[in-house]
């Protein structure tokens, strides 16, 4: 039977881990994700999970342990944040290149320098070309739900691609929320038994993992890897739907909030979307026809679906919680603007960078953005394509 529990973001992930009980868990402490590992350690010590729990000497080693265990045929996971994910960089590409369906909970945090422990998306956005599926969560409930679904998506035989689930540092990881924790057995059944493909522990077949691959076949193998993540959309859709049927909370690639008759739209991911919903409600009361589009899956990027949802808007503001220095806009913006390019009728799209290093974004800030959108929609002119929210300049 599902129960209501008061948990913070880190604990919700640990709770899902307890229910799924992967074969190997390897992680190194880093703020703000440490409590995930600590809670798992406690579960292990209390005999509530049977999986191996390893404390390696760094995140690079943690991901290496995951890759070794996954190659052996295990269902494996890790949790990290910020510099920890950055230190895993080399191994992220290897996990994806070897098609090992490793699951990582990433508590989104800014990158040094300057050093800062608070939330933004610089870490996972920096890993956007590593070949991992990326799913973002607005709150603790979504973090729990996404984490459970991640196993089904990553391990699907057509996909076989590592998957990370992002939740915002401190804002979600350390905030208590009442969440619906589903029944252990039903979660286990939903996730299902893991069927490894080519496990090294299958001694009847002898093969090597990770040998050198030069000009002869490297390209084909990379193409094959890309196919894995390209196969993910129908799986993500199916798993989200099934999750809804089973637990009453269905998921797609993004959430649309009061978009039915909207003329302008704010696009924002993760925890800030919750604040944005409040802003939208207030603006609606003022008679503004504005909506929110909250992307959930960033990789694979649901380009057509998002473009379809946005094409009839007059103006769209894409808010990124990370910067891409020197690029034509931050990651989410470039993807969305690019996705709209082929449409004859398309909205004006502007980009705002917000919340770096955990800087607050409040209802009034979304209202400022909405005001700008109104101006753009009214005049058809964009003064500044790229700007910042709540920044001293």
């Amino acid at each position: 039977m599902s129960t209501l529990k008061t948990l913070n973001g880190n604990q919700t992930i640990a709770e899902a881990v307890r229910q799924i009980d992967p074969d190997v868990l390897a992680a190194y402490p880093i703020t703000p994700s440490t409590a995930i590992v600590e809670t798992i350690a406690k579960f292990k010590a209390d005999g509530l999970i049977t999986g191996e729990f390893v404390c390696p000497e760094s995140e690079h080693s943690a991901m290496s342990v995951c890759i070794g265990s996954a190659s052996a045929g295990g269902r494996v996971m890790t949790a990290t944040a910020s510099q920890g994910l950055a230190l895993m960089w080399e191994m992220l590409y290897i996990a994806a290149g070897l098609r090992l369906p490793i699951i990582a909970a990433i508590v989104n945090r800014s990158l040094s320098a300057p050093i800062n422990i608070h939330g933004d998306h610089s870490d996972t956005m920096g890993a956007r070309d590593a070949g991992w599926i990326q799913i973002y969560s607005e709150n603790c409930q979504e973090a729990y739900d996404n984490f459970i679904q991640a196993f089904r998506i990553a391990e699907h035989l057509d996909v076989r691609t590592p998957t990370l689930v992002g939740l915002d540092g401190f804002i979600i990881s350390h905030s208590m929320e009442v969440i619906q924790v589903e029944d252990d057995q039903i979660v286990k059944e939903f996730v299902g038994e893991y069927q490894p493909v080519y496990p090294l522990l299958d001694t009847s077949r002898k093969f090597t993992v990770g040998p050198i691959d030069f000009t002869d076949y490297y390209f084909e193998h990379k193409r094959n890897q890309i196919e894995g993540i390209e196969n993910a959309p129908p799986v993500i859709e199916q798993v989200g739907k099934e999750f809804g049927e089973k637990f009453g909370r269905a998921y797609g690639f993004f959430e649309e909030y009061r978009m039915d008759d909207a003329e302008t739209c704010i696009v924002v991911m993760s925890s800030a979307a919750g604040t944005c919903k409040d802003a939208i409600d207030e603006l609606r009361e003022e008679g503004k026809r504005i909506g929110l589009l909250k992307p959930r899956v960033f990789r694979p990027f649901p380009d057509k679906k998002i473009a379809e949802a946005l094409k009839n808007m007059n103006a769209v503001a894409v808010l990124d919680r990370c910067s891409s220095p020197g690029a034509f806009g931050a990651p989410l913006f470039t993807e969305i603007r690019n996705a709209l390019y082929d449409y004859d009728q398309r909205p004006k799209v502007v980009n705002y960078v917000y919340g770096l290093g955990g800087r607050d974004i409040r209802v009034e800030h979304f209202k400022e953005v909405a005001e700008e959108l109104d101006k753009i929609a009214g005049t058809g002119k964009v003064e500044k394509i790229y700007s910042y929210v709540n920044l001293r300049e």
Partner: protein, 287 residues
Amino acid sequence: MKKEDRLESKNPMEGFLRMDRIPHIWCPGCGIGTVVTSFTEALKKSKLDLDKVAVVSGIGCTGRVAGYVKLDSFHTTHGRAVPFATGLKLANPDLKVVVFSGDGDIFGIGGNHFIHAARRNMDILIICVNNFNYAMTGGQVAATTPMEANASTAPYGNFEFAFSLPYLAEAAGATYVARWTSLHLRRVTKSIQEALAKPGFSLIEVITPCVTLYARRNRLGDGLNLLKYYYDKSVIEHGADTRTLDISYQGKLVVGKFVDKEKPTFLDRMNEHMTKILGDKYVKYGE
């Protein structure tokens, strides 16, 4: 009382600290401040030109030292204090470079860098505050956690072998190795003073209380209880064989100066070798 009649209220360490950063973040009973006091005392006594002393720290509780000392300092990423110090020393061999960081930083995530800097005999001094756990992140099991001790990621006790830092340092090639506890204030000061005067790779390990996490989780009382433990269980054995220096949970703590030997530093070797190869064409670096 007139203002000028009042006792001088200036802290004797003021000249060495960035007072605008004080109060510091360390917990009551923590030993890091004690080690910083020893360090500043040693600097005073060594009469080094403070413009020629640089402090490098990694991440962690001890990592904050770089932010508090009024010297050229650098707060690097987790584990990378030693390679950063290597670069600093090589770019400006006039500097006395001190790495001031914790056990998790230097021997956990940065362990590889430590052994290689020792192998090369880089002319840097490592002051390692060993509090037996990753304290900044909440007391997780570390490479130095004694067997059987509890940690947040080893709630029913650690079952892994711990590093013996002096043994590791000597085996890797360090030319000066000492271990003290934060109770041995004057001895720590003297060791730092000695090591500052000595070229080559030096390690001074200082065992300190982590009251909030290690002590609390292991029900060892407060800072005073741990200092009492150091008082009761530490034995000074200068020159002890570093193979015998393992630390067991609440067991004997052998302290002292274990290694103090002469060996050419990285730059000595480089200059000697390149002169041999290139003869007069080679201009010696850093001399």
